[in-house]
Symmetry: C4
């Protein structure tokens, strides 16, 4: 057990920390950060970077690794079918198929090129994906933070984050995801129909043109999940009898 | 993507960390701290320091930057109209106008000189600003922590934090803010009518005579937002049947 | 008081931080991490590593130590009866008997060998163990994160975490735990009937084949405790009138 | 503004970090830790160490200092009346009188010697002290973590944390505290009637024989405040229809 990582310490790799850090070091840093935020506890989660689109090749976290302490050997290179192609004999995560699906499908449907896919397990994502599964998607409306999702330029909008019932059958699950994403409307070239999706009582998948954008998309989705969940139990200001503000004010615009 | 910052690491600038750190290094440190506290996730937020009052010149975060990893080049100098004047070609945030407005208007109305303006996006600010928009302001009353706002010397008071409906039209929004702040009572030279304001389902704007005071104002507002929000769902002690304290006690003063 | 630890600093032991860190350094790192996560505040908690199965010998945290600042001398070696055998004169925790019980009993019942036992005090564990004590166990069902518990390969399952009424009589308590664990069904060699248990209004005991697995089990249990507790007060999506998702969608599989 | 502290960085003082760190460095470390935990935001809080009992002399944080960045000069030495006696001209906090009162009174009433007094402002302390002020004290019962308070050896007990209505008149407030503490029962030499007290909608005062014990008392009180507050809105397990645990179990002891 690498104790250095337990202190949210720095990687010992020489490249770590510099602005020229390669994908492995960037993913190791993502792991430390997300684990510290409780988004990747207990060896959950997986992260990938697209090394090549044609043929499709991903660098992805190996199966069952402590994300707070990813070492240089904790990654595998996989092909479009999720098969490990770096001769390491290491096992990639069962969910590799979902990373490959996203990396190939989103651009094929008219979305932007996918440079990275991030899958996280936060408590808020876990809860909302379970609560709203019957509805089929989680509606997030009216928040300024929606503008952190690529192509959204106003708060006066709603994002419907698709929710899929969780499954251990990755083939079956990837088909359902493929079918539903394919049926969505990708005709608006600057704004995709979604920037991620949820697996019920499981977590979030999101992506971006590069790892920085994918990470931003995780942060935005997770912030919004917490806001939506907490808003469901927040009361308004004190009831009748609460003092009115003393200063005259203009009628607020709605 | 600068991985060093992902570990809440230190800036590589030589000046960083010393008590003589200039405004750029101070703002970079603010970014790391606020991002770690979930107040500046996903490239949200913007921070400025007033370099000069006449003519007005601000140093402000450039648009769309990861606040956990602000580099020395992620800032622009702007004039009173929010125009970039440092020849960098970098884009300042759309919300620069609000920083300029605050920096000019607050002293003009009789408030203290403004040395820095900080805009943050916390979940509690986002939720309360949405819930209390119909009322027009968020009332915070009776808390000792109110004394962290400049000019407040007692808990026996209430602060009404103005809430404005959010807008993407910065000109229109800045006019509404200007009109409402101008209509408030600034005649008490030691205590302004507010120390910040909220944009609904968006976040907090606050300021101070220098960056340290502005940062303190962020911390105080954010603490109070959490206290107010949580208080709306906290019950009192166990109902009838709860044991009375065993020791005799004086009647508590209210 | 060791101030270095207060800053979540690094241990001063030479071995600290390397992948070859021995059990003492690993347990010191666990203490810093768990204390930072609020799972081991106020000298609570205790951690052990099994040094030898026959005869049973454990390395365990000494009594009453600040877990954020465990020093090399803050550990004792104990035998199967919990007696200190390293001639140090230091006192082991009263709860040492529970570590010894788990280390001996779980393999004897058919579970995997126990290499480490971790006991933590989180708010969520404290609350749920109190709330569900009448039921006798805490039911956790349907979460993907259950797969972080050794031997669980699907979310379509439920884990019943036994809850024992707390007691200061360690002998009596260990007998109750022994009797109840012995009565459980250990016949599934790949999946034990539980991976930990709760003491009411006290905390979690969990274990693993080594310290890395025990730590993973703490993280998984604590994540699930928070998810279960928060789910008990989370409402579903907005009631009647909530807009339906705009895009046609397949019927979600349940 | 000292940017180093904004990164929860280390002090630049030579002594910092070693086990021989003196009281100033220990209090600076406390400040960084408590600020990071949201217990000392916005220059709130004050910490003291008793340098001498006869005559009473305290080392206490100077007024209005950022606790995340306390420097070596941010402390003053005061006498029993709270007057600054180190010729520095610095101002001590208005609440210094309460530190002096506790340091003198608790031992005089039969409690243990006081080596340090810590005053913190957490959201949970703020809320519970307001909610339970009518009752006069906050009752905390049945939690194992109560054993972290000196002299408490069992969970089968209740601690009544006195709550005083907040006031800006320190003389009046200190008299109320003195009168109420003096009227309590200090006859049990190993267990005092309280280990701290709350000021309504303000925060916690606690103390210890040395700084380590005072810090432990802060952690224990703050943990218990969160547990009590959250327990007031936590429901029990799923209602009628919830599956019963599958394994036979002994009747749990209450």
């Amino acid at each position: 057990m690498n104790t250095a990582a337990l202190d949210a310490g720095k990687s010992s790799a020489g490249q770590f920390g510099g602005p020229m850090a390669g994908p492995i070091d960037q993913l190791r840093a993502i792991g430390r950060e997300f684990h510290a935020r409780n988004w990747s506890l207990g060896t959950s989660s997986n992260y990938s970077v697209v090394l090549s689109q044609e043929p499709l090749e991903l660098l992805i976290t190996a199966s069952g690794k402590d994300k707070s302490a990813l070492g240089p050997d904790d990654f595998v290179r996989v092909d479009a079918a999720g098969g490990v192609i770096d001769g390491s004999g290491r096992k990639s995560s069962a969910e590799t198929l979902l990373h490959c699906l996203i990396a190939r499908l989103v651009p094929a449907l008219g979305g932007a090129a996918v440079g990275a896919v991030l899958h996280t397990h936060s408590v808020w994502a876990t809860l909302l994906s379970g609560a709203d599964l019957p509805r089929g998607s989680l509606r997030i409306e009216g928040y300024e933070m929606l503008k952190g999702l690529e192509g959204i330029g106003t708060h006066e909008t709603a994002e419907e984050v698709p929710i899929f019932a969780n499954s251990q059958n990755m083939t079956e699950l990837s088909h359902r995801i493929r079918d539903r994403l394919s049926a969505a409307d990708w005709s608006n070239l600057s704004r995709p129909p979604c920037h991620g999706f949820l697996l019920s009582k499981h977590g979030l998948y999101t992506w971006g043109r590069d790892l920085a954008e994918a990470r931003r998309h995780v942060e935005i989705h997770e912030f919004l999940f917490e806001a939506v969940a907490r808003s469901r139990s927040l009361s308004g200001p004190a009831a009748a009898g609460a003092p009115q503000p003393a200063q005259p004010r203009r009628q607020p615009q709605q």
